[in-house]
Every structure is written in structure tokens, then in C-alpha cells.
Symmetry: C2
Subunit: 234 residues, 2 copies
């Protein structure tokens, strides 16, 4: 019997690639997503499409009751989504407090209830700069907490922890991940904006692999200016 693994699936590039990767590794995957008042709830529609593509059941948990204790530009329409590079300090506006611990703890409860022995999330090297709860200093104790939170040990998998965004795109291309079904943009408009931190990072990652991102963008060139400016500042 295949080992069961609960996978945090946001509908973004990283977690969708993670799902594809774990399926290829032979796991029986149970993706889980969260509605927490993010303005880009559109990503959950994409997550559902990815789950359907891979024929796995997608569980969505409604955490909108937490909206007032999880303020950030991701959840508050009154705060403008900052434009520019992902690692810039103004991107801290997009950090939702303790988001990953909350999601992992609920995913772990779902794992216990579903008799899954693994929980996975797509923390990666590119996230360190801005998200404290993607750092190895956070992941290591969380891994241990998962081992002892129940009668049976649970394992936290973070296979992309040493990868850059470009590395993840390369993995995904090899795994034939249908990236047209993934959504990264923090603005939940018709097309991806191309200007928020996550759009800039995504377009750069595809470019590094000399591959065209299949998603439609409002501005497909802006990211080049941002990267050039950062190089100029270094």
C-alpha cells in the first residue's frame, strides 16, 4: 500500500509542483487548501483544477474566522499589494502572521484523521529572505513537534527546501506540471499582474529555464526592470 501524505496546496507554482513530485515518488496524496481571507482566493480555483488534473481529492478548510488576527496585504484590501522584487523589505507587508504553523497544524490533524503518516509543504530557498516560517530554523523544530503530537509519529516532508524557484520550475517541467492551472499573483484579477513580488519571481524563474510561462499576464516585461534595478543596486 502506498504511504499517505497530506500536501499543503495553495494552487501556486511551488505547491503544485510538490504535488506532482510526491505523486511521482509514489505517495497517495491528500492535498489541502485554506481560505483565510486572502484576496487571491482565485488560487483555490486553480488548486482545485490541479487536484482534478491529478485525480486526487482536494480538501478546502475555511479559516475566514481568523481574518482579523491574520492581517497582511494578502488578506486586507485596504493595504496595497507592493510591487517589485520578492526579497525587498516592503514585501513584509505580504506576510500573514504564523500562517505556515497554522496550516501545518491543521494539515497534521487531517493527516491523523485520514491515517496519513506524512505532511508536506513546499518551503524553498527563495522564501527564506522574507518569510520567517519558511526558514530551516522554523522547519526543524516543527518537524520534531509533528513527530510527537500524536501517538504515532508523523513526518514533515520539505523536499524543495534547498531549491530556488528556478529549480522548482525545472523539476515541474520535467514532471510535466500543467502550469496553466497554477496561480501565483497576489492580486486576484483576470490576468496575473506581473508586478507583485510573486509574479516577478515566477517570471524570472521561467526565464532562467528559457521557458515561457503559459499564464496570461497584464505586464510580462516589468520583472526585467526590477531585476536590472536590483543588479544595479548590488
Amino acid at each position: 500500500m502506498k504511504p499517505k501524505c497530506v500536501v499543503l496546496l495553495s494552487g501556486g507554482l511551488d505547491s503544485s509542483t510538490l504535488l506532482a513530485y510526491l505523486l511521482a515518488e509514489g505517495y497517495d496524496c491528500l492535498p489541502i487548501g485554506f481560505r483565510y481571507g486572502q484576496r487571491h482566493t482565485k488560487e483555490l480555483t486553480y488548486a482545485a483544477a490541479i487536484a482534478q488534473h491529478y485525480n486526487v481529492p482536494f480538501k478546502v478548510i475555511d479559516l475566514t474566522a481568523l481574518k482579523d488576527i491574520l492581517p497582511s496585504a494578502q488578506t486586507n484590501d485596504a493595504i496595497e499589494i507592493p510591487e517589485g522584487h520578492y526579497a525587498d523589505s516592503n514585501m513584509k507587508l505580504t506576510v500573514t502572521p504564523n500562517r505556515n504553523m497554522i496550516m501545518l497544524s491543521i494539515a497534521t490533524a487531517y493527516a491523523i484523521t485520514s491515517k496519513a503518516s506524512r505532511v508536506a509543504y513546499a518551503a524553498h530557498k527563495g522564501d527564506y529572505a522574507i518569510y520567517p516560517d519558511c526558514r530551516t530554523a522554523f522547519i526543524r523544530p516543527m518537524r520534531e513537534a509533528l513527530e510527537y503530537c500524536d501517538y504515532e509519529r508523523l513526518h514533515l516532508l520539505t523536499p524543495f527546501i534547498c531549491d530556488s524557484k528556478a529549480d522548482i520550475v525545472l523539476r515541474g517541467i520535467n514532471l510535466r506540471v500543467p502550469y496553466k492551472f497554477t496561480w501565483s499573483c497576489y492580486n486576484g484579477r483576470e490576468k496575473a499582474c506581473g508586478k507583485c513580488g510573486t509574479c516577478v519571481e515566477r517570471l524570472e524563474a521561467f526565464s532562467k529555464n528559457s521557458i515561457e510561462d503559459p499564464l496570461a499576464y497584464e505586464d510580462r516585461e516589468y520583472w526585467k526592470t526590477v531585476i536590472a534595478q536590483r543588479k544595479g543596486n548590488e
Copy 2:
């Protein structure tokens, strides 16, 4: 300025004593409670009364959306609350999967949002036997995860970790905790049942301190039979 501390407050004996203890220690306390489909939601009314008694704001978070992934005798009316001693193996029916990690992670988000540097919960020695997420093996890595989940360090306080239930009652008596405003029983009826694991444990703890529990019980004597039986089995 007093340091701010978010306190998990269920309305039970342990967490109410913890709140009194932390206030006496000089913390500016922000108690937080959770509605997660427990049949003893009555405890939240008691938690609100305790918070009012101490004149601190009480925050209630609605997690009923998680009900289907948090099954236990605490949340499912179809499962009978087991009677007997707290440490008996049938008490595992009352374990809600990963409850403490979920509550601590949300309490931590609330701490970050409220600029509190501490999060406290009333894990104690009596809980080890049955609740995996009250063991030091779980608390130690959680403490470390809290230190690294945000830009600033957060501290997890568990001052009752070496206490028995009777020790906590003794602390509470000295702190003049109004125990009539606390609710422990897993059955949410008019009076506390006196037969569920937590009623038995509570009545025993008061008895060990030669003090009468001010709460009204359906059966105030049953616990003695349970304790005598356990002694007979040892």
C-alpha cells in the same frame, strides 16, 4: 510596561489558574478560547466569566469549520463520553487530533498581531498519560518553533508542566481563583456529571487539598469508587 502574554483559556480549572498565576506574575494577559465543536461549549461561557472577573479581554475563535477533521468524543455527539479515570486507555476517545498545536499556532498569530511576546498554556503532568500534545517531547520543539516563526522571538510559557492537578488546585486556592466560574466536565449539562475522566480528576484534586469544589455535581461521590478500583488494580 508589562510584558504581554496570550493565554489559552478553555474555562477549565487548569487554564483559569494559569490566567490568575500570570496576572499575579505581572503579565498583561490576553486570553483566547476556541469553539471547535466541543459538546462542552459551556466551558466558553465560564471562560468569559473568568476573564470578566479578572477584567481582561477574552477573544473567542470559531474553529467549527474544522469539526469534520477534529473528530473525538469531545466533538461528536454520536460517541459517548467515557466514564472513569482520566488516565484509562478508553479516555483516548476524548483526544481531539493535534488540538494543542492548532490552538497554539493561532494563539501565536494573535500574539504577533497584538505585539505580545509570550504565549502560555496550562499543560501539566497529569495530562502526559493520555494527551500526546501535552508531553514535554512535544512542548520542547513547539517552544523552539515559536522562537523562529516570526521576525521577533516569541516565548512559549508552560509554568505548570511539572504540576499535578492537585498542585494546580493548591496554586489556585492561594491565588483565590473563583473556581465556581470554571467548567471541566466533558458533558455540557446543567451540572457537572462527576463521572467523566475530567470530573473524576478534578474532584480528586480538590479532595487531596481537603477543599470542597464549589461547582454543582450530578454525582459527587462516584470518583471515590474509580480511585479505589484503580488502587485495587495496581
